[in-house]
Amino acid sequence: MIENEIKKAMEPFHFYTRLHLSELTGLKASNLPELLGLIKDAPDSAIYHHTHRFLLQHQYLSPEPPNDFAYWVTSALGDDRLGEKLASIDTMKYLTIRDLREKIIVTIESYLKAYPSSAKRFASENEVFYLIKCVSFIMPTAYIANDLREFVEILNKITIDSIYFHMFEARLRLERKSNDFSLWIESSIGDKDLADKILKLDPYTFTLEDLRKTLIQMVTKKIGKNYGQA
């Protein structure tokens, strides 16, 4: 029986979920220097909100626009060149929000230096940028996987908020350096190959439903290969 051949995890994987609430700050920007000032002074939770909100709120968009700064600079200031630079920041390269914030600041500062007239573009009254913070609530779900078969079954039915938490929030906001799935698969299942494959995914270029499907395919393929499943 396949069940007998599936390797039991040393430690079970507890699926958590993350729900968020948007906290307003009353702060806003109408041009690039004002936006830069906001980004410099904003709490990490605001940088996180504006670089990750699209993933959850616009699940049908893939993969652009990846962050609010890029979207606003392009659509409200009409600055496509800077918009492209901000959109192409590789979030996967950064292990903390501080590092990501620094990269955004450097990108805007260098651009302002190279193109000083860009500071004079203003957004219209109804396209002002509003700074918002993200308050995250993390809680356990009832789902626990003891092996990869259970893991893939749960991936099929868990909310995308849970997948989001383990793939994005755990790595960057909680500074775990890797995503939770790779950490567990390597340390508790002992499958470094699969762990590395998941780690190599750039989740920012998927919609969340596509990310779910990709993860399921990768794990299913692995179970099939190791345990004789088609």
Partner: protein, 403 residues
């Protein structure tokens, strides 16, 4: 009233699991909503649907309504207009009348809530009864450009709350308390939004003598200048030069509003004798509104100002392509060219309508994206979740909270 399980086919088991888990964490807390009316208006409508769902989730929730005479509500209507930025004559006697009724309510109302949730300005002064419990002020009004006198008067109360809630970032003021962004929602199981059979849709069209032989452009809203029905007709007339189509302008609630009747007459006059323009002054009938939206080819919402503009969410939920002004909460519901088309003028609306009527595949895609966006962000289940997170946030100061 719908039961929680009935939402499962729409939002999935996981969402209901999350709601139950959050409700569990509010065990022992009583939430007391207070507003100014039990029926009529958006606040009463949403509380009517949310309170039973909270009770089903075992979140101890009660809903109380303040009392007030004509004078009090005249003054609060003036406050409402002034908060929207309209010039209003408000004198000391008005503020005194507001306070007199507020003090009566303050003394009559019984306060049960661990969390007292005050909706809109009418009951705002009850904050003076705050003890060691938590108080939230929920502002459903567009306060992006308020009259300063009224705002400063209200500010003295707002500053004493634990938190405030606004519907759009645009409305977010600088205040010394925490403020949260919570959008309103639609209920997919209500008469206004539930699935309808073709028979019902056809019956409603027949009742209003509307044939399905030409594409239908529809705006659902009361006859109010801020909804710009005359601008909608101007856009339609421009479109009509190139595409043979018809227009429905349908809304109610104007009979007791002198300005509404005037706007209705102006709209009729603008339409002239065009048999393809259907101006329907209707009594409140959610099923008929639902049917008219579902029968439409394109929905337009050409408002000049909006609190939130939930008619956009209603249309998108029905998979309809939408052209709407970029005002109030509408840009939260439509990302231009992804889930609808935004416009800023009659000319912009005209161009967008022509695009959607001529490119059915594009229109279909926008409608599909729009429905998905509403499903993820603007259904009542998201609203329940946000309210519970808001209640829990009152007991935590940090940005990452482990429950």
């Amino acid at each position: 009233m719908a039961r929680l399980e009935e939402y499962k086919p729409i939002v999935g088991q996981g969402v209901l699991d999350d709601l139950r888990a959050l409700a569990e964490r509010l065990k022992g807390k009583t939430i007391q909503h207070i507003n100014s009316t039990a029926v009529g208006g958006g606040v009463a409508e949403i509380l009517t649907r949310m309170v039973p769902l909270f009770q089903e989730l075992n979140v101890n929730t009660r809903w109380d309504v303040i009392k007030g005479g004509d004078k009090f509500f005249e003054v609060t209507k003036k406050f409402h207009n002034a908060l929207h930025g309209r010039a209003e004559e408000i004198n000391e006697a008005d503020f005194a009348a507001f306070m007199e009724t507020s003090i009566e309510n303050m003394n009559e109302m019984q306060y049960f809530g661990d969390i007292v949730y005050i909706h809109d300005p009418q009951p705002i002064a009850l904050i003076q009864k705050k003890t060691d419990n938590k108080w939230i002020w929920r502002c459903h009004v567009d306060v992006s450009n308020p009259d300063r006198t009224v705002w400063e008067f209200l500010y003295s109360f707002i500053a004493r709350y634990d938190a405030a809630v606004f519907s759009s970032p645009e409305f977010s003021p600088k205040i010394p308390i925490r403020q949260f962004l919570i959008s309103p929602s639609i209920d997919p199981l209500s008469d206004k939004n539930k699935e309808l059979s073709e028979d019902v849709i056809n019956m409603v069209l027949e009742k209003y003598h509307i044939k399905k032989d030409k594409p239908i452009i529809t705006q659902i809203s009361r006859f109010d200048r801020l909804k710009d029905p005359v601008g909608v007709i101007e856009a339609y007339q421009e479109v009509k030069k190139y595409i043979d189509c018809q227009l429905i302008l349908a809304g109610g609630g104007a009979t007791d509003d002198p300005e509404g009747i005037k706007v209705y007459e102006e709209t009729k006059e603008k339409a002239g004798n065009d048999k393809d323009v259907h101006i329907l002054l209707m009594p409140q009938n959610d099923t008929e509104i639902n049917a008219l939206q579902r029968a439409s080819t394109v929905i337009i919402q050409k408002s000049l100002k909006e609190g939130f503009g939930l008619t956009v969410a209603e249309a998108l939920w029905k998979g309809k392509p939408v052209v709407a002004s970029a005002v109030g909460g509408i840009p939260l519901q439509i990302k231009h060219k992804y889930s609808g088309l935004l416009c800023h003028s009659v000319e912009g609306a005209t161009f967008a309508l022509k695009q959607l009527l001529n490119s059915s595949a594009y229109a279909k895609k926008l409608g599909e994206n729009g429905r998905e966006h509403i499903k993820n962000n603007f259904l009542i289940t998201r609203h329940l979740k946000d309210y519970m997170l808001l209640f829990l946030s009152l007991y935590h100061k940090e940005d990452v909270i482990y429950l």
